[in-house]
């Protein structure tokens, strides 16, 4: 374990930036934190987390796939991928780190999504422990320990110091660049913080939320649960929950006619949108209830069924604070989960 003083963290950022683009949460003009490319003068945010999750780095909201150029009646196909450069995402919370595992299982499974895979390959994750979880946090429900974030490097931040521990080769490589700026140290301070965090985790209002009653094989029990009607009744059908969610991975592929050709790109889509499953024959999810149910069934039943019991929710709490009508996965789990386990 190595450490540096919090005062010198900017020199760490400067050092990392020499070799790779560095992104970290920075407070915006609206007071909320956003991952921003670091440059001299920017300050690492104290916010618990960003509104938009870091999945953007690997699975951006819009991404060009290819391009068709027309001239006269000829069409040329252009690969729009460019050589990826190394980058570092700094200050990722434990929940969001876990979300990469959820995304990896979708995108890196054969056939590999080369757009995603290339970004994962070039990205280094520096994860930070949560000193001050919020009431909306429920990562422990999914077995995540915010005091022990995974990632290529784990860090702990105190009032005065930042502690580093490399977990992977990528992490070691990054830390080796920082050897001049950090010093070897013991784990006492970090252990103390871990204990503190554990104590707070015990006080969180959602600490008792469990995944009991969910998981693969529960489709039949849950699909026709009468509670879906009530749960979905206020849903506006916007995409806020899906777009702030670190694990939502649905996208649409669209063509944009530029006048001189076509850009084929993909962009996030939301199962909450009425057009989401529209096909030539029509739409197989006709009501908001069906769309709403899909989102939660996917996270809590279908995904674990196909991924060794891994849930595709990491308890980050973004949907809890951002849903315009305050409906969210916790309310769904409490209402339906209890029911199913009876």
């Amino acid at each position: 374990m190595r450490k540096c003083s919090l005062d010198s963290i900017n020199s760490v950022f400067a050092e990392i930036s020499k070799a790779a683009s560095l992104y970290l949460p920075v407070d915006g003009t609206d007071g909320a934190a956003t991952y921003t490319k670091w440059e001299e003068g920017l300050t690492w945010s104290n916010a618990l987390n960003t509104v938009k999750s870091p999945k953007d780095f690997f699975f951006p909201q819009t991404e060009d796939l290819m391009e068709f150029k027309t001239s006269g009646k000829n069409i040329e196909v252009i690969d729009t991928r460019s050589e990826m450069e190394d980058f570092v995402v700094f200050g990722v919370r434990a929940c969001d780190v876990k979300s990469f595992e959820v995304l990896d299982r979708v995108f890196i499974k054969e056939p590999v999504d080369s757009y995603y895979a290339s970004k994962r390959q070039h990205g280094t994750i520096v994860a930070v422990a949560c000193g001050r979880p919020a009431e909306t946090c429920f990562c422990q429900t999914f077995g995540i320990n915010p005091a022990e974030p995974a990632g290529d490097v784990s860090i702990w931040k105190t009032e005065t110091e930042v502690f580093f521990r490399a977990n992977t080769e990528k992490g070691e490589a990054l830390m080796s660049k920082l050897s001049g700026l950090t010093e070897e140290c013991g784990e006492e301070t970090v252990n103390a913080q871990k204990e503190k965090i554990a104590a707070i985790m015990n006080k969180l209002p959602l600490k008792d939320l469990t995944t009991d009653g969910f998981g693969g094989g529960k489709t039949k029990e849950l699909f026709d649960a009468p509670e879906w009607d009530e749960l979905s009744q206020a849903c506006l059908g916007c995409g806020t929950c899906t777009f702030v969610c670190p694990t939502c991975q649905c996208y649409d592929i669209k063509d944009f006619n530029t006048g001189n050709g076509v850009i084929r790109y993909r962009c996030w889509d939301s199962c909450m949108y009425s057009e989401f499953t529209k096909m030539a024959h029509g739409n197989n999810r006709l009501t908001q209830k069906e769309r709403f149910r899909q989102r939660f069934m996917h996270k809590l039943v279908y995904y674990p069924e196909n991924n060794d019991g891994l849930f595709s929710c990491v308890g980050c709490g973004r949907c809890l604070s951002k849903c315009p009508i305050s409906m969210n996965i916790v309310k769904v789990m409490k209402k339906i989960g209890g029911k199913a386990s009876e």
């Binding site: 006619n257 530029t258 009425s274 739409n283 009501t287």
Partner: protein, 664 residues
Amino acid sequence: MQRVGVFVCWCGSNIAGTVDVQAVSEALKNEPGVVFSTNYQYMCSQAGQNMIIDAVKEHNLTGIVVCSCSPRMHEATFRKTAAAAGLNPYMVEIANIREQCSWVHKDMMTGTEKAIILGKAAVAKVNLNTPLTPGESPVTKRALVIGGGIAGIQTALDIADAGFEVDIVEKKPTIGGKMAQLDKTFPTLDCAACILTPKMVDVAQNEKIRIFSYSEVTDVKGFVGNFDVTIKKNARFVKEDICTGCGACVEKCPMKKVPNEFNLGMDNRSAIYIPFAQAVPKVATIDPNACNMLKNGKCGLCAKVCAAGAIDYTQKDEYIEEKYGAIVVATGFNPISMEKFDEFAYNQSKDVITSLEFERLTNAAGPTAGKLLRPSDHEHPHTIVFVQCVGSRCDSCAEKGKEYCSKICCMYTAKHAMLTRDKYPDTEVYVFYIDVRTPGKNFDEFYRRAVEEYGVKYVKGMVGKVTPEGKKLKVQASDLIANKQLHIDADLVVLAAAIEPDQTARPLATMLTASMDTNDFFTEAHPKLRPVESPTAGVFLSGACQGPKDIPETVSQAGAAASKVIGLLAKDKLTGNPCVASSNELMCNGCSSCERVCPYGAITYVDKEFRMPDRTTKVRRVASVNPAVCQGCGCCTVACPSGAMDLRGFANNQIMAEVDAICK
């Protein structure tokens, strides 16, 4: 995808002089959908058109782009050509490379470049064209004239003369309108009754004309060629077909103290009455507000004296539904109320009267049998002051008056002044005016005669105040030319009140979805070129409902409106413009935005049942455009937030395709 043929015209050297037509036709060959592209000296010539027809057949073209002169010039020509080639005529687009390119750009390179871009835009548009067919609708060969004054009478007579049936709806018991109340008419001074009443008789005797007097229009549905109109015949408590108009009932009626509206309340009539001797129809009417029998069930004298047995106290209002192909609005005018004009003491003195009241005072059939006597004491007035522009040409802020010029007052005041001086040379006559406006045949001559031959004293200036004092009216006025204040002791003051549209016009306009201006005059379809048509197809305007008018103007407009009606009714079918708006009902919210901006009232709402996504049904309110009424301006398409409303021939995607083609 269309199979588009491009035809670039040289227009001799008009286009070819500054545009490389060969380069244009070559460049457009590569555009999406284009399968054939050529150029020719004169595309509009027979040879050029044949070239198009041959190409359509040879290359199975489904769309045509002609790069040539303005579509305003030859779009119709090339549409016919397309039709001759078996294509839908609306599969043609014109790229204007003459007026908007070769003629305004001198440089061959820029001209050619621009011509290619304009051609590309036309190709992009035609790729999205769809065949359009104009709708057809039948025409009911009957016209409705609303209002039975001279405007309505003349229109009805002219339409009937052409062999079409006409109905006149008049809210009063008789037709004749304002003109029937006039004494003499300017500038010829022939008596109004002498020239009007024969026309009224003509109407009554014309087999093609039906008169619904004492009636009003209560509902209008439908559209040009196919109006469904509900007419309410008010109960007159006299059987119209039986009454002979003998007048026995009128004489016997004990209730004789009802103010006589025909004489503007300056004398009385009975509860059962015939408005005037030459009324048409000459049928008695019982005033339900005055008749003791109807109010209290006591009396019944008229029924007793009626030899024909025409009286029916139990008569009810009757509603008649009738179909019409065209509607003429001839609702006329009224003088505005003088209630608010305290400065002229209209309310304080009986001897301050309006010009229309003056007409009745000088009319042989009027309350004084034609003798000019003061209403207050029936004495002969020696000093008369006429005030012009009372309530006309007011500042916009003046609440009581009108901003516009009432147009007829200058002339009738000159007439009144002249006639007074002619009949009573001992009378001193003053006319106060802002300007004297006499544009009309023999009008100015008429006015000058009043001044020069009859010695009427015209004073430029307004009357400030009229104060009744004893038997006199103290008139305080300014003479702007002499720049002094005048004080005149007058015996009679006559106010040339502004005229305004009849009160019934506004609700009628709503029923007809015909537009009105802020003064409630009906708006014409075009102020210069379509002055007798309302913007609402099939609705025509006759007389003062469209704006202040004198009799000759009214009659000529009445004739013009009639000729437009005849032109419409002469058709068996109406062919519409196919470039009309249409609403995608699945996307329509029924919010009424489109309806509110439609100048033609072409949009109505219907409740329609829809299958919802979850297989239930729901009744929703959706817009429906009547293609026979829509004129295709497209205003609704922008008012529609969801884009449910689109315009055929100029659809959103077509215009955006043009934008894209131009900007790429």
